[in-house]
Symmetry: C2
């Protein structure tokens, strides 16, 4: 039996509901694949603020650092919206990313044939979209210094090259097309970014590298999203474009994400927020968190078989017609968060 | 007879073609409205680089500053893409904006009933979209200083309050809804921004102010664009969101823009680029530039009647079925740039 320790950070709003469901899925899949998980639940975000006065208690960060992987629900809510910056739930998330040194954020946006009608885009534009945004996660204006991509306080390149390499690797394992998004016609940091992504491209002759300005990328995602395979971009552009891309799929309740560093535990979380308006009502879609658990298995632990099991179970559950409210369409079976989780367990 | 001097900056790519057409429309409308224009054509962008070695020659800037309004075609092209920053066509545009102190950039995105099918969004999502993005144009990371919105080097508020006021004025003249877009959960500059937009809101009780994070705004534009009336945001977010919004209309060849300061000439230009791939082929859609000339009349010169004449002529031309390639659909008449211009003249 293989053993892994997972730190669970349920967080706020619908976070606890979706984490409970994903945990059960991990347990069952583990038992079938000869994997034993030990779970440790720690407070984070608004929940941690209420409990301890800070959004990321030291105990939470050190538990996360010691774990094999970290699964996060969601953070934030109206209650803490007016807090000062260092007391915002979001600040805890930024501290967690920094503390885990997870500099590469992978955000797939895939239109499943079962859900193509959920997109606001015309069917022929939406169907077949299958892209991934790789977002630089621990640099840029998010961390106050208008410095180049991936350099640390001393101007060193820590993490940078690794990210560029891993970005090319990701594109290679997909359809071999890498689109680097920047604003190199205006920003110095983007000019540097472009230079470096280009430099390493020569080591990946099988990957086709292109460059696009961020404003154009925001347009092209609406105009013809199928042109994209792997998009790589900086922190703030990635924040905006990955959310835009996710909405193009029409089902953000379905989309997982992974944040990876050079070594150490990865951070896995659904891309949706804490949805305080439906919290505690058993209405949340747990599939994004379940699929984040699949990314955890694949990218965090190297357990590809277990990951595939989860992904197939999710597809099977959709094929059997189960839908939470956010992806419901007539003819299907409307279920809540818990019931969706139970159906996925049946499909595992 | 009223007299106005207009500086024309044809620029690069399709710029000269669309400027020629718009100039003819201005002339005709002027003659019907008792307005006489004196036009002065000056080099700018790549054209200026080739001619003088810099993207914004001093003569061009001072001519623009002395004019009553400035009409720009488009700038940029592959030829100058690898230039150093100070020798890029784009740098000339930034210098022009700074030199004219035009800090508020108005970018309407309207889905015309005649063109609703051009959008990649489903018809019920796209139809009726009528929003405007007001983008802060001379601050932010575009000008190298990670400073608050609208403060100058000395930390003073020059231009800031005027923009916030004019933003509320614009919303008031529209449907009274102002959505301020920021990233106040992460960026200090956004926190300041939010505070100020909110402070001045109390003087506009008839304008309903809301706030949205930029990543959410990028999603909401795809999900339900009709929720927006007036969006106000900073330079880089405005660059991205206004392009996204324009693509949602499906006809960026139709969209004008205006850049205004506290006093002095405004800068008017289509939002599309220089389209080097179709330059010189008489394929460009001149309507965005013609509609920019209408904004010039309305916002730059206070000649609302003349502006309406142009807007009506454009609608009439569309109703008569004339379409350039970018907005063509079967059943309509495909025309080139020049012929489209001639049809608009007939409709004036
Ligand atoms: C909550 C916020 C700090 C965060 C970010 O901007 O990174 C979120 O929008 C995300 O994309 O994960
Ligand atoms: C060409 C470029 C400098 C410019 C900008 O980023 O402002 C353009 O994208 C625009 O939106 O007008």
């Amino acid at each position: 039996t293989k053993r892994y320790s997972i730190t669970l950070l349920p967080g706020d709003g619908i976070g606890p509901e979706v984490i409970t469901v994903a945990k059960n899925v991990l347990k069952l899949v583990g038992s079938l694949e000869g994997i034993e998980f030990s779970f440790q639940e720690m407070p984070m975000g608004g929940a941690a603020l209420d409990l301890t006065g800070v959004p990321l208690p030291e105990e939470t960060l050190s538990a996360a650092q010691r774990a094999d992987a970290v699964l996060l629900g969601a953070i934030g809510g109206y209650k803490w919206d007016k807090n000062e910056k260092h007391l915002k739930p979001e600040t805890g998330l930024l501290q967690l990313r920094e503390g885990l040194k997870v500099f590469a954020n992978l955000r797939p946006a895939t239109v499943l044939p079962q859900l193509v009608d959920s997109s606001t885009l015309k069917k022929d534009v939406a169907e077949g979209v299958d892209l991934i945004v790789v977002r630089e996660l621990t640099g840029g204006i998010y961390f106050g210094k208008p410095r180049g991509f991936g350099t640390n306080e001393k101007g060193e390149d820590i993490g940078f090259n690794t990210e560029v390499y891993s970005t090319h690797e990701i594109a290679r394992k997909r359809r071999g097309q890498l689109c680097s998004v920047d604003k190199a016609n205006v920003l110095e940091a983007s000019m540097l970014w472009r230079k470096r992504v280009t430099a390493i491209a020569s080591e990946y002759p099988d990957v086709e590298l292109s460059h696009m300005y961020v404003d154009n990328a925001a347009m092209q995602l609406v105009r013809y999203p199928k042109q994209f395979d792997t998009i790589v971009t900086n922190n703030i552009f990635g924040d905006i474009l990955s959310d835009e891309a996710s909405m193009i799929t029409g089902s953000i309740g379905m989309l997982p994400s992974a944040s990876l560093g050079e070594s150490g535990p990865g951070l896995f979380e659904p891309i949706h927020g804490s949805a305080p308006d439906i919290a505690g009502q058993d209405k949340a879609n747990p599939l994004a968190t379940i699929l984040s658990a699949a990314m955890l298995l694949k990218y965090g632990l190297g357990e590809a078989n277990a990951a595939n099991r989860i992904e197939n179970a999710v597809l099977d559950t959709l094929n059997r017609g189960f839908r939470t409210g956010d992806i419901y369409s007539t003819g299907n079976k409307l279920v809540g968060c818990k019931e969706m989780g139970e159906e996925v367990l049946k499909s595992v």
